[in-house]
Symmetry: C2
Subunit: 458 residues, 2 copies
């Protein structure tokens, strides 16, 4: 294996595998989220991408050489499964994710008891494995792009071993306010910040998250190092190709048949607490109650996928979401009208087709690093659809002009904004949709990657 | 009724009543909290105190003239009970209290649905009743001291009707950070801030809460007006009198008989989520696990009282607290040693006697405006007891030197700090206790009242 001048490090890689009935690894569909956005940018770049083998299937696939791709070397880090569960479930997802999204029920969480220090040691060990692997793969003076909250300690560990490297850490989540960051064990918090601060530069999607990081560093007495802001953008060519695909065309026909000539409110999210599905359904319920003229004439299409279902919080949330939907449908549905169609079977073609079709796109996250759906939707939509956007999403900083803003905690307001969006005159819809497309196209995925490379001094 | 040059307005007054078996109003014990602290300062002052009649008994007592006291006129505001429940339970206690203490489980709360606007109207109406009553009672140019989050709109309403008055609003709670305050419906948040900002000055227990208020005003585009910081202090003469009372002496004997020559960790709180009883018991559990040498040799005495038991959150929390205690006692208790004694029967003599007796006083609130127990304890304690104090309590700003600090969210750290406190050498205990007493005595209750009057320009 040759060294690389560009190394990516992220928890999840661009390829994942499942096992077939014979126990052989089979490639799963394309990754979503961060890895899905990064992958097309790096194909053929000659970069090396270091990521976790997250399952037995991933480990088998790596052994079988299935991770190799032309022009992109994929290298796996292989933690012990129990240790990985502590690092990934307990530290990254149950603690750091909740912390940065301000989602702790602080009366009870975090607990930071004896189990915490075991999990924290596993997180440290996993970060050390990443650092060691990167140190081994990177050419002299290489740029290393470390992604997200799973790997906050990598810059600090790596800078010690390889001071020649140019290390960028980028946070795809929001960053916690100082008073929320303080709920972490004090030494842990300081170690996380110091780990990030050792990077050549730390990047964030918005000035708001950058300011929060700087505030946390000030509160903890950590020198924050250099920072920069670079919101991710969509990849228009890739979106065009998806829209033209057979799968997407077929999904569009199925959606058309399902909704008929009704207006369509769409949401596409991972089913998890930060996305605020519950208040979305409560708001739709209030909307139907207060606006009887819309009953039978509008469908809410809620598409997405479940994740992290090893966490009790996510399982509970998924159940609450199903109950909230059932309540709306029981209350308002008729023989020929189901008000909410919830489908979390993770059908990417269907989700994409829904973005083409919507009259209103609802993005009401309680807190969100960026929210790429809020940018991709307006770009591919063919109905001059209206974007209803949480002011707590990172994308709000760029899109707040033509989007309709909502306070995501305010169900009554969300209901009224949905009504406003659905009743918006065609001319205004068209004007706002055009303005949204213009704003979105100002920043594309390649601009984001260029910013990270520039921050690395490459 | 003559007018007054000094008017106090607070939700709860200094006297409350219950009904005896014949349905006649009988005075309940002395009020705790804010009203209990203010009352001795105002007796004989000639002030008028406007407060809610919170129950049928209070209303009957007011009708029967039982609210009158020499030199202190008590005037009741009498909202309709249903409207009061909306204003007090839904807005003040379920929303504003949770907001300022950062206690919302933001995944689900607040909801701010249709019910909110009804409750908000009730809160407005109650504040208008207070303003009207004060406007009627106050002499020309009088000083009006408006207390706490129940009455945020009073300064604005009153300033319009009576521009001659000098109005001070004082917050006894923490103040929410801007990003937490934003979870309120936007118009509501702005109205609350504008209501407070119309005062001659707004006061807070610490610079931290003042800064949060100023941050919220900046975020919402509200001119904050003048502000000041004035931490409340204890009333040493009153504490001396209580310590010398027969009731307190008897309670001390009972505690001595109960704990014998064991070391005693004491906590005295209202049983509610901000006080963080759960993590206190979890920490004591971890302490006993990690420090077997202390088993059988230490008792945690958790005294207090329940409140707001019309709120589901409080009922649930009370149950969780009981289970946490039962778990510690089941796990570690022996025939002759019960590790935790929990008593929430609201026995003020017993709570006071426990403050005299403690070896360690645990105040681990997740967030607290001030915490007067953290000041009263060191003043009355006779064992050179150690104060373990949450860095998120307002009193931490004054007492952080000689107190042992804890991150209230960190159960493992709290367990270790308890161990450190219990093992502290006598000489160090004595030095720290003396330093605490000196710090506490720098600010007495009368200083606080003088600050408020000065802020009113009186």
């Amino acid at each position: 294996m040759g060294g690389a001048d560009l190394v990516i490090a992220s928890n999840r890689g661009p390829l994942s595998f499942t096992l077939d009935s014979a126990g052989a690894p089979v490639a799963a569909g394309p990754a979503g989220g961060l890895a899905g956005a990064l992958h097309p940018l790096l194909e053929g770049s000659g970069a090396t991408w270091v990521a976790c083998a997250m399952s037995d299937a991933d480990r088998l696939a790596a052994d079988a050489g299935l991770m190799s791709q032309p022009g992109l070397e994929l290298v796996t880090v292989r933690p012990d499964p129990d240790a990985y569960r502590m690092a990934y479930d307990v530290v990254s997802n149950s603690t750091l994710w909740f912390c940065h999204h301000h989602l702790f029920d602080l009366v009870r969480r975090p607990r930071s008891g004896a189990r915490w220090s075991v999990a924290w040691d596993a997180y440290r060990a996993l970060n050390a494995s990443f650092a060691a692997t990167v140190a081994e793969m990177a050419n002299d003076g290489a740029a290393v792009l470390v992604q997200d909250y799973h790997l906050c300690l990598v810059p600090g560990l790596l800078a010690k071993q390889r001071p020649d490297l140019k290390i960028v850490h980028f946070s795809h989540t929001p960053f916690a306010d100082p008073n929320f960051f303080r709920v972490l064990p004090t030494d842990t918090g300081r170690e996380l910040l110091s780990g990030m601060a050792a990077a050549t530069a730390c990047g964030f999607h918005t000035a708001r998250w950058e300011a929060a990081y700087l505030g946390c560093c000030a509160d903890m007495g950590v020198d924050p190092g250099a920072t920069f802001v670079s919101p991710l953008g969509p990849d228009p060519a890739r979106l065009d190709a998806r829209a033209a695909s057979d799968g997407c065309r077929a999904a569009r026909s199925r959606i058309d048949a399902l909704v008929g000539d009704r207006q369509v409110v769409v949401r596409v999210d991972r089913v998890e607490p930060s996305k605020n599905l519950l208040r979305g359904f409560w708001a739709f319920d209030e909307f139907l109650e207060r606006h009887p003229e819309w009953r039978g004439k509008v469908v809410m299409l809620a598409l997405g996928y479940t994740s992290r279902d090893s966490l009790a919080e996510y399982l509970a949330y998924g159940t609450e979401v199903e109950h909230a939907v059932a309540r709306v449908n029981d209350r308002w549905g008729t023989d020929d009208w189901r008000p909410v169609i919830l489908d979390v079977a993770d059908d990417p073609d269907r989700s994409f087709a829904a973005l083409i079709r919507y009259d209103v796109l609802l993005v009401n996250a309680v807190r969100d690093g960026l929210n790429l759906v809020a940018k991709e939707g307006p770009l591919v939509n063919e109905h001059d659809g209206v974007l209803v956007l949480s002011r707590e999403a990172g994308a709000f900083e760029e899109l707040q002009g033509p989007a309709l803003a909502v306070n995501p905690f305010d169900v009554a307001e969300t209901a009224e904004v949905l009504a406003e969006a659905l009743a918006m005159p065609r001319v205004e819809r068209s004007r706002r949709a055009a303005e949204l497309r213009d704003l979105v196209l100002r920043r594309q995925a390649s601009d984001w990657l260029a910013d990270l490379l520039a921050a690395a001094g490459s």
